[in-house]
Amino acid sequence: MKTFILLLFTLILSANHYVAVSNKSIKRISVEKLKALYLKKSFYVHDLKIVPVNLAPKSSARTSFEVNILKMNFSRLKTYWMKQHYLGHRPPISLKSQKSVISFVKKVDGAIGYIEQKNIDDDLAILYEWED
């Protein structure tokens, strides 16, 4: 019981909020737009070239992003990028940590990334939010 309660509590606590962010150069965008940008089907938002930034594969945020935003599992994405590779498209760059993503996004105009909501700060602009 006690264990169950603790597990449940943990689950509640870990019911994570994620946000897609960029620096202030970009306003909010739709989830479709976000998906298109990450699948490199779209490149620009208001003439600004977008640099989508992934997190390391298998990380919880990236898994959540792929499931919730891209609606594709890891193996499907792999097949997708395999095909795209032959067309000359490459997947978004990936950074290891959310900290890096934050730093990167802040410095590079047009860069967008996703991080847990708790890591957000004032310099970042929230483009989209979701929950697991």
Partner: protein, 675 residues
């Protein structure tokens, strides 16, 4: 001689040494001069090849590093620059790469502000990279490091510079490409900034366009590196001592061998040359001995069988021949001496013969004895073959044929034999002349003696008759004064003539050797007194003072011919009285050193010196004013001198000139020991 032997030995020595050492010397010269050059050239080539390889390796390393830098800089992970490498992904990558290279280098990533945000070495992190020049160029050298840099572009936007990748490479790393071995020095240096790494040797050489330099100790090869490292020189220096060690060792070995071989050659040469020269020396010594001792019987011992032995053999043969020749010469010489003695004996015997027949027969038998030719004979016929003998006809003073010496059956063919017979013939002819001359002389002497005795008899007899007759007339016939004067003249003339004949006879006797000297003990004082007494009247007639001085006459008896002596004294005295008109005539007699001196000193007319010589010639008188007053034959002085000479003495005259008187001196050596 000695010098020649030694020179011969030296020649051998030099020959041996030349033949033995020449190849050695050539080989040595080759190894020393040619091999060294070749080896040095080879070293240069090798080191050049090695240098090229090293340079190529360095070049490759540089290219590799550049490629690596380019590669790393193009990696997507570089995008992390934009996140300031918070995840340390770049740093990890750089560390990994650095480790992979396992050389002293560091990789660093700079952001656009030249802050080092990622590096293989943590201490550099977040430092500012000040070498902005290194970022402007792909490679840049500073302070012993080469910086290879590359701009980093964002993977999502290739136009977007996001930072720099810099590789800091320590040039010291190149040391690993250099060769470090004993004897080989290699290093890299730059003239511009004094960088030097590799071996810590400073070789001083001139860097020009040449690729190599050769110093006393090193063979040096150098080459400039390529690319950014241009101006850096790679130097390879090889210690000559070590590189040429083998050559030097070989040369040294050759030297030792040469010394050994030289000694061996000298030893062998000395031994052999002695062996060759020794028999020659023996030969020389033997020759010397033979010359010194005149011993031609000695020979040289022959021990070997070579050319020297042949020479010695020939020498022995020559000695034998010489010996024989000498022997035969000696024999012949003996024979000749014998012949010569015989000949002298022959001549002796011939000389002793007293008449022609005996001379001829003796000669013939003696010659036969010598020559042992029985067929030799003598003939007086003319026109015969043989050797003619001529004799002198003294009356005509010419040579006349006498006879011929010839052989019965053959002629004198041998020239020497002919000469021999000619000389014998000349000898015989001489002896014949001699015999003839003796006979002729004897005849002449006999004739003269006969003439003189005849003369003394034939002339004196009529004169004595004349004198006797006139004296009879003067004494016993009554004649007128005129007649008496005439008869007296006849008588005195006859006396004069008789005196003259006596004197001529005396001279003739002396010259013919008929005058006999009868030596006896003479009382000289008495003899002089007698002479004085005899001539006193003559001096009185002319009122001359005649003195006799016998004060110094110590000897009283003298062994001589008294008759002759008295005649000489009277002659000299009468001459003095004859040629003195007034004054005195002095007789001085004395003895001195077994010699009797009798001086007749007058104060008469004297004699000129130039006339002195004539006086002793028969029939000569000195012309002077008194001449007509003096009667005389002129024989007196000559006769006196001849008589004195018969008695082993002489007569001499002294005069200071005309009117100074004359001193006539008779000296007479005597020997009283027989008394």
């Amino acid at each position: 001689m000695l010098r020649q032997i030694s020179s011969l030995r030296n020649k051998f020595l030099v020959g041996f040494v030349l033949v033995g050492l020449l190849p050695f010397v050539i080989l040595l010269s080759y190894t020393i001069f040619l091999s060294e050059t070749k080896i040095v050239n080879k070293i240069v080539d090798e080191q050049l090849f090695r240098s090229n390889n090293v340079i190529q390796l360095i070049e490759n390393q540089m290219i590799l590093l550049k490629q690596e830098v380019a590669f790393i800089s193009s990696l997507d992970v570089m995008d992390d620059i934009l996140a300031d490498d918070i995840d340390k992904r770049i740093s990890i990558l750089l560390s990994k790469k650095t480790t992979d290279f396992s050389i002293d280098m560091s990789l660093m990533v700079l952001n656009r502000d030249a802050t080092i945000i990622a590096s293989s070495s943590k201490e550099l992190l977040l430092q500012q990279f000040f070498l902005s020049a290194a970022l402007a160029e792909t490679s840049f050298i500073d302070n012993g490091y080469i910086y290879i840099s590359s701009k980093i572009y964002a993977s999502f936007d290739k136009t977007k510079e996001i930072g720099y990748l810099v590789l800091k490479y320590k040039l010291q790393n190149l040391d690993s490409y250099l060769t470090h071995r004993k004897g080989i020095h290699s290093y890299i240096f730059s003239l511009e900034n004094g960088v030097h790494f590799g071996d810590k040797v400073e070789l001083k050489f001139d860097i020009s366009k040449k690729k190599s330099a050769i110093t006393d100790k090193h063979v040096i090869v150098y080459k400039s590196l390529k690319g950014r490292l241009k101006g850096y020189y790679l130097v390879y220096a090889v210690d000559k001592e070590i590189a040429l060690k083998f050559l030097y060792d070989f040369t040294r070995f050759m030297m030792y061998v040469a010394v050994v071989v030289f000694i061996l050659i000298i030893f062998i040469a000395v031994k052999y040359s002695r062996g060759i020269v020794k028999p020659i020396e023996d030969l020389t010594n033997a020759t010397r001995n033979i010359i010194r001792n005149q011993d031609y019987t000695s020979t040289i011992e022959i021990h070997s069988k070579d050319e020297i032995a042949t020479l010695s053999f020939a020498f022995n043969e020559m000695l034998e021949t010489t010996k024989n020749a000498l022997k035969s010469l000696e024999d012949e010489n003996k024979l000749r001496v014998q012949r010569f003695t015989q000949l002298i004996e022959v001549f002796n015997k011939i000389i002793q013969t007293e008449n022609e027949e005996k001379c001829i027969s003796t000669s013939k038998s003696e010659i036969q004895k010598i020559t042992q030719r029985e067929d030799l004979h003598f003939s007086r016929k003319r026109n015969q073959d043989g050797i003619a003998i001529y004799v002198t006809d003294f009356s005509k003073n010419e040579k006349v044929y006498f006879g011929t010496i010839s052989l019965k059956h053959e002629e004198f063919e041998d020239l020497y034999e002919k000469q021999f017979y000619h000389s014998i013939a000349a000898m015989i002819s001489l002896q014949l002349d001699h015999i003839r001359l003796i006979e002729q002389t004897k005849n002449a002497s006999n004739a003269k003696s006969t003439f003189i005795s005849t003369m003394s008899h034939e002339l004196r007899t009529p004169l004595n008759s004349i004198i006797g007759a006139t004296q009879f007339l003067l004494s016993y016939e009554a004649m007128s004064d005129t007649q008496q004067d005439s008869v007296a003249t006849i008588e005195s003339s006859a006396h004069y003539l008789l005196g003259m004949i006596n004197e001529i006879l005396d001279i003739a006797k002396i010259e013919a050797g008929v005058m006999e000297v009868k030596k006896e003990s003479v009382a000289i004082q008495e003899l002089l007194q007698n002479s004085y007494t005899i001539l006193q009247p003559l001096a009185d007639d002319k009122d001359l003072a005649l003195e006799l001085d016998l004060g110094k006459l110590s000897e009283k008896m003298i062994e001589t011919d008294g008759h002759l002596l008295q005649q000489i004294v009277i002659n000299l005295l009468s001459n003095a009285i004859k040629f003195t008109q007034e004054g005195s005539v002095k007789i001085l007699a004395y003895t001195q050193d077994n010699t009797l001196f009798i001086k007749v000193i007058d104060s008469g007319v004297g004699i000129e010196k130039k006339s002195m010589q004539k006086l002793f010639h028969a029939f000569s008188q000195v012309d002077n004013v008194m001449q007509k007053k003096h009667k005389g034959t002129g024989l007196g002085l000559a006769l006196s001198q001849k008589m004195a000479q018969l008695l082993d003495g002489d007569v001499s005259l002294e005069s200071e000139g005309l009117n100074t008187g004359v001193t006539a001196t008779l000296y007479l050596p005597y020997n009283n020991q027989t008394l």
